[in-house]
Amino acid sequence: MISTARGISSLSLLNRRARDWLVGWWRLLYLGAMILVLALSPSSYSRPSRRVLAQHIYHNTAPNLLGFTLMCALITVVITRIVIVTAISYGLSQYALQVVIRVLVLELIPLTAAMFVALRCAIASGVELSQMRRAGALEALKQRGVDPVRHEVLPRVTAGIFSTITLAALSCVVALVMAYLAVYGFTLSGVATYTRLFGQVFNPEVTLIFVLKTLFFSLAVSLIPMASALYDSTAPRLRASAELRMLVRMFAVILLIEVLSLVGNYY
């Protein structure tokens, strides 16, 4: 009798967890769609909203530019050097540059940019929103007739997307320049060959996958912390904190996007 009751309770627990899991993902998708609609509607860009948006964009992006550029340049030089030296030792130097472009520009750098934005800005924004929610600020806004999603979530998400895309684009340019310098040195004689090689790597399919990957990275990094902050339960019954759960979910999504892009590129 007791075992039957225990089985039923574990089943109901499983059921509740599965429902929570599905509801969590559904809320994430719903928030994404809502943000997309709000981002595309001109009414979201009134003068005060623009100012708030500009503030978030600036604070998410500008302080990271220099540090991220330096870090990116350093990583590129090191990895390029490793790949080139290894390739030369195996007598495959003609493929080294293509490998560098593929590994760095296509795969590693966009992922690094997304992780950087996530750790530096998006998670902080999520925590901030979560604290506002706990403090009742969002409820207060709602009671005053102000949509908290439009006023608090939209600028943060847009700033996160903007920051990820900017850093990804910047890091790609920096990686390309640094790889060129590491291989050819300070000369322009290799530009034609390098450009040709770049064109061979970036065929239409790879370019499309790269653009989509960067876009989805930026969405994942910006949306998941916001959705967790808005909808996750703050009850102390859960073992892991809301921030940790948000982080795990975000990493899972980023990993999924990366795997899908690899499948698209190499299968």
């Binding site: 503030q55 903007f162 684009a169 910047l170």
Partner: protein, 333 residues
């Protein structure tokens, strides 16, 4: 922060209720934000333009179609090289109706002058690395290759040659193994050579090797001895013949005297023949005279015949007019 607060107050919108959501104030915020937007747009647009440029979208090209029976290893985007420099790029690979692969290559117009009507194209697959399409132009003064030209590509496949080479080498090694095995042909030959050497060193020597056994060799030696004695006899015979034929009393002097006599006889005969010739000339003259006389005789005969006919006709006339010897007797049956 003050900017945001001022603006919120100015538009009558409620500011965020919680100070947690506020960010530190930034001077010239809108300008900096626009600058960031422009920066991002420039990065994205510049990257897109660079990709398009690298893909060759801004250069005018001409089409070259290479036909091959196998396009394995050829991928879209790979280079067509001339003297190691890329001068074209594979745009598409398609299967033609005749089952051959058509490799469509875009050659930038500025590099097209390296390709001439006499250019040769090769598709080479190395053991390691990708396939290469190469162009070779021997005569750079030939007419330039026209747009959309279709050319056969020559294939050189190192990878495909390796299995054939290995199979041939394996066969060769097997043959060598079978030759050099203990029961093989080489060992047998060497054994035979050894036996041969032994027999050469034996009592019968090379003759025994040549004739197979010792008895035959002895026979040959006996034959040789007999041939020698025969030759000795022949030698004596030849000396005797010499005496008989060419000696003082031999056949040859007699024959020479006979010949002299024959010469004298022939001279006499020649004289006689000359006489006979003269007689014949005379006889010929006689013959000619006789021929003339014969002609005259013909004429005489004609005249005699005509005279006889006349006499006959006269007699007939006389008989008709005077029947001297008419037979009047009537014979009854």
């Amino acid at each position: 922060m003050s900017d945001s607060k001022d603006t919120s107050a100015g538009t009558g919108r409620p500011p965020p209720a919680d100070e947690l959501g506020q960010l530190p104030p930034v001077a010239n915020l809108e300008f900096k934000a626009v600058l960031l937007l422009v920066f991002m747009a420039a990065l994205v647009i510049g990257s897109a333009l660079y990709v398009l440029y690298a893909r060759g979208l801004f250069e005018s090209t001409q089409k070259l179609v290479l036909v091959s029976d196998d396009s394995e290893g050829v991928v879209v985007g790979m280079d067509l090289t001339f003297s190691g420099f890329p001068i074209g790029r594979v745009r598409r690979i398609e299967l033609a109706d005749d089952g051959k692969a058509r490799i469509i290559i875009d050659v930038p117009t500025r590099d097209a002058h390296w390709l001439r009507t006499s250019s040769v194209f090769t598709l080479v697959r190395g053991l390691v690395g990708s396939t290469n399409i190469r162009a070779y132009t021997g005569l750079l003064k030939d007419p330039p290759l026209p747009d959309g030209a279709v050319r056969e590509v020559l294939r050189g496949d190192t990878g495909a040659e390796v299995p054939k080479l290995i199979a041939a080498a394996k066969e060769l090694i097997e043959n060598l193994n079978s030759l050099t095995a203990s029961e093989g042909a080489v060992a047998a030959s060497l054994g035979n050579v050894q036996k041969l050497t032994e027999r050469l060193n034996g009592p019968s020597g090379a003759l025994g090797v040549l004739l197979g056994n010792e008895a035959e060799a002895k026979k040959l030696i006996a034959t040789l001895d007999r041939t020698n004695s025969l030759l000795t006899k022949l030698d004596g015979l030849a000396a005797k013949t010499d005496t008989q034929v060419f000696g003082a009393q031999g056949v040859m002097p007699e024959a020479r005297a006979t010949v002299v006599q024959l010469n004298a006889l022939l001279g006499e005969a020649r004289t006689s023949l000359k006489k006979v010739d003269a007689v014949l000339v005379e006889a010929q003259a006689v013959g000619a005279n006789a021929r003339a006389a014969t002609d005259d005789l013909g004429t005489l005969r004609g005249e005699v015949e005509s005279s006889l006919r006349k006499v006959d006709s006269l007699i007939n006339e006389v008989n008709r007019k005077w029947p001297f010897a008419r037979d009047t007797e009537i014979k009854l049956p």
